[in-house]
């Protein structure tokens, strides 16, 4: 039992099972998340810094951290930072997602 709080992302030395060594090809949308983060970092000043991404991932909650995939955590965290900074709003996001769903249904 740790006597001090420990982040769920801070894994060094924790017990864990065998490593799944299967190779996995990233989907196109996962490549887009990676590229989005990279592109945001090239803005001056960077709109989402690596440490802001990490901090938002660490704030995601232990259950979500475990259940989400790597790039799911990334896009959730990028969105969180953009919302915090007021670059996009909850309202705009929900509207855009609805628009995308409508487009896909056509």
């Amino acid at each position: 039992m740790d006597s001090h709080p420990r982040g769920m992302h801070d894994l060094g030395g924790e017990p864990a099972g065998e490593i799944d060594r299967a190779e996995h090809q990233n989907d196109f949308w996962e490549q887009r998340v990676d590229a989005l983060m990279r592109a945001l970092g090239t803005l001056d000043p960077p709109l989402v810094r690596t440490d802001e991404l990490r901090r938002a991932i660490e704030g995601i909650g232990a259950d979500a951290y475990d259940s989400m995939s790597y790039y799911e955590r990334w896009i959730a965290a990028i969105t969180e930072v953009l919302l915090e900074k007021g670059v996009i709003s909850v309202n705009e996001l929900s509207g855009k997602i609805a628009e995308i769903e409508k487009r896909e249904a056509e």
């Binding site: 740790d2 001090h4 709080p5 420990r6 982040g7 801070d10 060094g12 030395g13 000043p45 810094r49 690596t50 440490d51 802001e52 990490r54 901090r55 660490e58 900074k85």
Partner: protein, 93 residues
Amino acid sequence: MSARFAPGDRVRVREWFPPGHIRTPYYVRGKRGEIERICGRFNNPERLAYGRADDPKVLYRVRFAQTEVWGRAERPSDTIDIEIYEHWLEPDK
């Protein structure tokens, strides 16, 4: 760049458990090691994580014996090197 420590210096990682975004792994806090090299000066991630790039710190690579970190090791020869910012280190006297 004025660095407090030099390669070869014995240091101890602060036994410190603050809230917030931290890049010093839990497992190495309070452990003793040796400065392996000075990496340069970088903005403090504890501020960067909240959007503030205004607090440069000297970054070191510190080498620890696996036995020191875990109290045991697969082999006594084995080590682990970790990057640690200056404000997390104190001289090991």
